[in-house]
Amino acid sequence: MRSDIRASFGLKVAAIGGLLFLHLPILLIFLYAFTTEERSYQFPPPGLTTKWFAVAWAREDIWGPLWLSMKVAAIATGLAIILGTLAAAAMARATFFGRNQITLLIILPIALPGIVTGMSLRSAFALADIPFSMWTIILGHATFCIVIVYNNAVARFRRLSGSIVEASADLGANGFQTFRHVLLPNLGSALLAGGMLAFALSFDEVIVTTFTAGTGLEAKTLPIWMLDELIRPRQRPVTNVVAIVVFAATVLPILAAFYLTRGGSETAGSDK
């Protein structure tokens, strides 16, 4: 069947069309950040201006959420890197009782819909009388970020040859020296890639966050700020400027993660 070697015209059109369907809508976000019309989504924009970037910069209510989102994503990613790496180190080679159940437990927070994870945490905070704060947001984010780091790290651990650890021990290194000088340099890029993906995921997470942030102003992450603007729009182009920032803050780490792990069998992100 020749068609397997050369794609038919129809297939090419459908495949490339599908890919464009996935990407073209984002361009509108960029276009509308420059429109002079702030009350509707009129197309084509009546005029173009760059003033909204300055307006967004001057808006006090954006900096707090931006800073909070950065902090939450950084701390959640840090926790996820530690916990995910530990889990990966234990699970990579060893077989033990309950191993499959532990794998399931690690995947569950991302496998169940966000609303379930969010509502579960919300119920737990209510039952335990835990007040909402930045830490309740981090608790939720770290939980679903563990699996991201774990997936990247476990693939790298499996690929690493066990003999380098033995060689290190034969040369007199203790376990900690082996970790510091042999394992860590080999794991580095996989952990970095996992961390980048976890950061991107946390930075833009909104569903779980709405359940764990409470209603206070001090607990407003950037995605929650954006959600508010979408439901009750004020200066619409400003929302677009922020959307561009959020988009960049998630796309750049993903590209970096792809670059860090390219060519390997465990290219980052192939299993969300």
Binding site: A14, I29, P113, M119, S123, N174, F211, V246, T267
Partner: protein, 310 residues
């Protein structure tokens, strides 16, 4: 003088290393317990709290949660408007899943079997980026597209097909004032946002279809259509089912999209979010619905062998 076979321990780090060497299970336990404690405490604990909360009820007069086990809250789920909502959500999830499978197939097939060199990377990133990049921004993009004064209306008028648009919007139930306030709009956004989740597992399954099988099918005289129906589709099915788990589950649990694009009809996720402010037990009981549906779905998928393709 005898050579020392064992070097002296240089400090606590060496002694610990020796201990771990003698008892590898101890090391394993130390490694696995922090993540296990976190997930067990935070996650399983929360799920248990959800289950417990769903058996509580709210006192109608005080509005406070009564911490006594009762089935009253689950009884509220059986009200006709709630049953409607469950049906509506499941129907939407099923339609989104079907449409995603149809739309994803050519992309997955091309990426798996035809893309070479730079195209391989383009397709890989082209699917991966939307999967990971900001969900909210991508939903917002569709609010811009579907708005009454937006690009779709403009394009329809510019091409003289405005009457088609009006015809579609005039359809009962799925139509509406504009695309951004209709079921069609909600459906399109769901489809757009979850499509990458269908492409990836499908592509993984298609990559494993051996070329020799396609050749054998052709040698035996099958047309392309026959090969597709009798060889490719059955082999790709586990991937399709794996992808459908994502699209189905994500649609079932989403509450942002129907809130931003749609006719304000309630979906399960939206109901959970609205109730959590007033009636925590009811919100918890509502959140149990997607769990139950997904457990049933996963059991069916498992039987179909979907987990080999994950």
């Amino acid at each position: 003088m005898t050579a020392r076979a064992i070097l002296p321990a240089r400090g606590p780090a060496d002694r610990l290393t020796a201990l771990f060497w003698r008892r590898p299970n101890l090391l394993l336990l130390l490694l696995v317990s922090p993540p296990l404690l976190w997930l067990g405490l935070v996650y399983l604990g929360s799920l248990a709290a959800l289950l417990l909360q769903s058996f509580y009820s709210v006192d109608e007069f005080s509005g406070l949660v009564t911490e006594e086990l009762t089935l009253k809250t689950y009884g509220e789920l059986l009200r006709p408007e709630n049953l409607d909502m469950i049906l509506r959500t499941v129907l939407m999830a099923a339609l989104v899943t079907l449409a995603a499978a149809v739309l994803a197939f050519p992309i997955a097939w091309f990426a798996a079997r035809h893309a070479r060199g730079p195209w391989k990377a383009i397709f890989y990133l082209g699917v991966m980026l939307p999967l990971w990049s900001s969900y909210l921004v991508r939903v917002y993009a569709w609010k811009l597209i579907l708005a009454k004064e937006g690009i779709v209306t403009w394009a329809a008028e510019a091409t003289g097909t405005g009457f088609v648009m009006n015809g579609i919007l005039a359809l009962p139930v799925i139509g509406g004032n504009s695309l951004s306030t209709s079921y069609i709009g909600t459906f399109l956004v769901f489809l757009y946002v979850w499509l990458p989740y269908m492409i990836l597992p499908m592509q993984a399954a298609l990559e494993r279809v051996p070329t020799t099988m396609l050749e054998a099918s052709a040698d035996l005289g099958a047309t392309r259509g026959q090969t597709f129906r009798t060889v490719v589709l059955p082999l790709a099915m586990p991937g399709v089912i794996a992808g459908s788990i994502f699209t189905f589950s994500l649609t079932l649990g989403d509450y942002i999209i129907p809130q931003i694009v749609g006719n304000s009809a309630r979906f399960i996720g939206l109901a959970v979010y609205q109730q959590q402010a007033y009636n925590l037990p009811l919100a918890a009981a509502l959140a149990m619905i997607p769990i139950v549906i997904m457990v049933i779905y996963l059991a069916l998928a498992r039987r179909a062998g979907a987990f080999d393709a994950l």
